[in-house]
Each structure stands twice: as C-alpha cells, then as structure tokens.
C-alpha cells in the first residue's frame, strides 16, 4: 500500500468480486497483447517523502537563485518583490486544488477572483474587457494578432515592431504558421518603432499593427503616433505592455488600442526559470465576443443574488471545435489569482509609487553607469525600468566578471540586436537599493 493509494489488498479483492473479475489483469484485457507493456518501467524506485525532500533540495542547490545574487537582468522576466500575503493566500488548497469553475455554484471563489482580476486589468489598461488570463505574454500577443487577422476579412498583413521581445516575435510566427498571412517586421529608429516607416508599410491590406511599450529595450513608445496610422488605415492596434508601468504611464486604451496584451509575471509571481508566467488579454468593446479563453461574467441566481459564471463560452474550443479561432483551454488561473492579490496589496496609491520607484531606480542606475565612463546610453529616449547601454568591455566578459561578484548583469543584446553593437540591457526594479546600484555600477565600471 502506498500513501497515495488507499486500496488495501483485502479491499481490492472485495472490489474485484463486486466487479466480477478474478484479478486486476483481467480489467486490462482490452489491451491487445501485442502492445501490452510487460515488466516494470525503467524508472528509479520510489522515494519516501524524507528522501525526496533531500534529493530535491540538493538538485535546487545545483542552481544559483536570484535570492542569492543581485539581479540586474530583465528581458521579459523581472525580480519584483512578492509580498508575503500573496503566497499565504494563493496557497490555500481550495484555490489551487480546484478545477476550472464550470460548476459555478461551488466555484464562486475562483470566479469572483477572476472578475476582480479582469476589472484590475481593465483599469490599468483603459480597455473595455479582459479575459481570465492566458499562458504568457508571448502567446497572448500571438492570439491577439490571430484574432485581428481573422476579423479583418480580405486583409492578410500583420506589422510587428522590432521593439517586441524577440521570443514574442518568434511565438507570433509559430502561432500563425498555419495561416495565410504576411508578417512583416517594422524596423526601429533610435530605439523605438520607426513611425515613418510604419506609416509607409501600413495600408489597406494591413489587418493589425503590433508594438510593445515599454519595448524590449525599456523605451516608452509613442502610442498616439501609432494609433494615428492604424486609424487611418483601419488596421487593428495591438499593444503589448507592462502592467506595472501603467501605474504612471498612459493606458493604451486611451490611445485607441484595440487589444492590450502582455506579460504580468512581475505582479506577484516569481521568475520561475521562465514559467509558469501570466499572460493578460484585454480588448475594446468591438472585440469583446472575439476574446479567446475563459471569461468571468456577473449575473444573478434564481433568487436575484449576485454571482459569477464563466460566460461567452460559445467561442471556446469545446463548443466551436474546428471553427474556434483559438484552441486555448487552460489558462493560468492560479498565477492570475496571485496577481489579483498582489494588485490588491499594492493598491491605487501603491501602483503609482511602485512604478515611480522602478523608473527612478533605473534612471539612477543608468547615470551611475555612465558616470564610470565605461558605458554610454545608446538611445536618449524615456525608459521605464530597463535601459540599453553600450559597454566598452565585451559584455560576455563583463557579465562573467560580475557573476563572480554576485551579480546577474544586464542582458547581452548582440545576438538578437546585432545592429546595437556591444549592447547591455540593464533592468532595475524596486527591489534594488541605492547601495546595490552603487556597488554594481562601481564593479561594472572597473577597468580590468
């Protein structure tokens, strides 16, 4: 008997009698002999809890965590502080051992939390509606592009800014590889989308224009310029953004965005070696019924009491099947719950303070690095919590040196943006103290 397998041998016998089978093997007789697996799987013998814990601890210690280093790297995953309350609440088993809330009467907890999440996303992004979450920012962006494409009959061009995270751009390509679409990259000019080039490229065959702001280089883009172009050409305007930046930055909804998507890992979820993260998806009124994935809606019960249900399910894969625009089934509910709790803790004043702190920390760090004389800011543009400098020292060497000193240095951009030379993308969140930044800059600026 195993701790997860309650049936004792005696009970197994009783159950077999009830079924009318002489042994368990009989229950597997439908499996043709030719494909039956005999013997045991070649997997090491099971461990007890004590042994497993030790084993996993050892394995985890073969990694160096960002709790033991000072993190100045972003590039899509951010070291934001997670208030203790987030895990205390999200780890309640009624939340995490629950299934998707299809039986609304016993899932009001999850459904209401989703409704609150949707509301908060709409508040920050300035959009009409949000869904219950997507897997991550990159797939969320890809799905927005797909919906824009499918809805713009007779248009098959999508313009994607080079300012988008390189992996997001790759995911868009993969997601749309099964469709008849022409994905074109809009180049950058001085660190942001080349708006003039965009105006040239955007025409009546363009289904959507997709930009990221703050972009991969940390620079805040001019959304009004882009929306001017998309409106003129009746193309959908998709913005990939950072919800924390929207604590002080203008909501893309106010600039006429049709879809606002992005990565919300920084809100209450750890970096987790890349997953699970949290995609969000918000849309303007025109596209409410086209949003992919799960959506919670408010309604009443037969006695008029307020409650919540999953709604607009007719678009989803389990009903539309091959006619569905998206195949998404699961979402990242638990991560969205963590983000909801996080946003409740941070609150109306806090999100502004947090955003301002990140922006100030980043600005300060850039100045300290430039002061050393070994770094120069590549583009003189307003940035949020990340910035791109060109380093005098080869960034590979620089990072190796800093690693030994206990720092995870900036992201080396040479492979993904070869046109930006020896670029070093440094991220600074509210977790970084003045001391850490001063020491980091000093070490980075050393001549070796």
């Amino acid at each position: 008997m195993h701790k997860y397998l309650p049936n004792t041998d005696a009970e197994i016998k009783l159950m077999l009698d009830e079924i009318g089978a002489s042994n368990i093997g009989e229950l597997f007789s439908p499996i043709p002999e030719k494909v039956r697996f005999s013997g045991e799987l070649n997997i090491p013998k099971g461990m007890t809890e004590q042994e497993l814990d030790k084993h996993m601890e050892k394995l985890s210690k073969m990694n160096i965590s960002m709790e033991d280093m000072i993190c100045f790297r972003g590039a899509g995953a951010y070291d934001h502080y997670i208030p203790v309350v987030v895990n205390a609440l999200a780890s309640r088993s009624e939340f995490y051992t629950a299934y998707t809330p299809y039986q609304a009467e016993i899932s009001q907890g999850v459904l209401q939390a989703i409704f609150e999440f949707q509301t908060m996303v709409c508040e920050l992004t300035g959009m009409e509606a949000s869904n219950a979450s997507m897997y991550d920012g990159s797939s969320s962006t890809a799905e927005a592009c797909t919906i824009a494409l499918v809805n713009a009959k007779k248009r098959n061009k999508i313009l994607v800014s080079r300012g988008l995270h390189p992996e997001t751009r790759q995911v868009i390509e993969t997601y749309m590889s099964g469709r008849d679409v022409d994905i074109q990259e809009v180049p950058l000019h001085e660190g942001e989308t080349d708006y003039e080039k965009l105006a040239e490229m955007c025409d009546e065959s363009t289904a959507a224009v997709c930009i990221q702001s703050p972009n991969f280089l940390g620079i805040v883009e001019d959304m009004d310029k882009v929306s001017g172009i998309t409106e003129q050409n009746k193309a959908a305007f998709i913005v990939n953004t950072d919800l924390i930046s929207l604590g002080i930055l203008k909501p893309p909804g106010d600039s006429g965005a049709d879809f606002v998507v992005g990565e919300a890992q920084g809100l209450g979820n750890p970096m987790a070696f890349g997953g699970p993260h949290l995609g969000f998806f918000a849309a303007s009124g025109k596209y409410i019924r086209k949003m992919p994935g799960r959506i919670a809606g408010e309604t009443t019960d037969d006695k008029g009491k307020r409650g919540y249900v999953l709604t607009l399910q007719a678009r989803e894969q389990h009903i539309r099947r091959e006619k569905a625009t998206s195949n998404i089934c699961s979402n990242h509910a638990l991560n969205a719950l963590a983000a909801t709790i996080y946003m409740s803790v941070v609150g109306k004043e806090g999100i502004r303070e947090l955003a301002l702190r990140c922006a100030n920390n980043a600005r300060y760090a850039s100045e300290k690095l430039i002061e050393t004389g070994r770094f120069s800011l590549l583009y003189n543009k307003p940035f949020f919590k990340e910035f791109l400098v060109e380093a005098k020292e080869d960034t590979g060497k620089l990072n190796r040196r800093l690693l030994e000193q206990g720092y995870l240095g900036g992201y080396e951009t040479k492979e993904v943006y070869p046109e930006m030379g020896n670029g070093w993308l440094v991220a600074v969140t509210e977790k970084r103290t003045k001391q850490e930044i001063d020491n980091f800059a000093a070490k980075a600026g050393e001549i070796v």
Binding site: R289, Q313, A314, R315, I319, R320, K323
Partner: protein, 126 residues
Amino acid sequence: MADASLRYSKDHEWVKVEGDVAIIGITNYAQVQLGDIVYVELPELSAELDKDEVACAVESVKTAADVLTPVSGTVAAINEDLEDQPELINEDPYEAWIMQIEMSDPTEVESLMNEAEYASYCEEEE
C-alpha cells in the same frame, strides 16, 4: 407560425421569397436545438455571398452555429432588432428574420425543400 410557402435548407434555415429578395431566418427546429439565444452576429450590409457560404453566426449559452445562406446574392437588409433582443428568434423564429438577400440567381430557391420535405428531413435527423 411557418408560412406554407416557405422553403428550407438542410442547415435549418427558412427562406421566404418576395420578388428578387430572399428573406432568411432559422427554423423552429434550429432554435430549439440552440436553446436560449444570447447573441446574433449579423452579416455586413452589401456583403456578397455565395450559396451555402457562412453568412453569420447565432450563439446560445451552450453552442454557436453558423448560418449559411441558402441562396447567392447581396445582403440587402439585416434585422437590427436582433442586436438588442436576440431572444426574438426563440420567441418566433419565423417572424424574426435575420437577413434579406437580393438574389443573383432566383432559381436556386427551387433546389430547397418544401414544407413536407423539411418535416420528414427533421424526423430523420432525430
């Protein structure tokens, strides 16, 4: 109540011909299958459609169904009442028309089923 002169498609649409215009809706059988209708995605005015092309969609809580046009032509009118009151289709599916098509080939109607044929078609579907 269904008008005896109506014609029917295999996809449970009804057609009423008035001159060169085909008035189209979905049948009682269809609305019963769908359940409470929550949303009708109307076609675009002046859209040109071929016979059996997907013209628009009707959504209920539990399902979404494409409405195919039983005849080719141009969308001359759409029933905007359905935007705010999609339930009209449940209440009287033969009154609550969805779209009117100016037919490009009026003979197409002849290949549709008549009342009796449609009735036995529905029985077979059961």
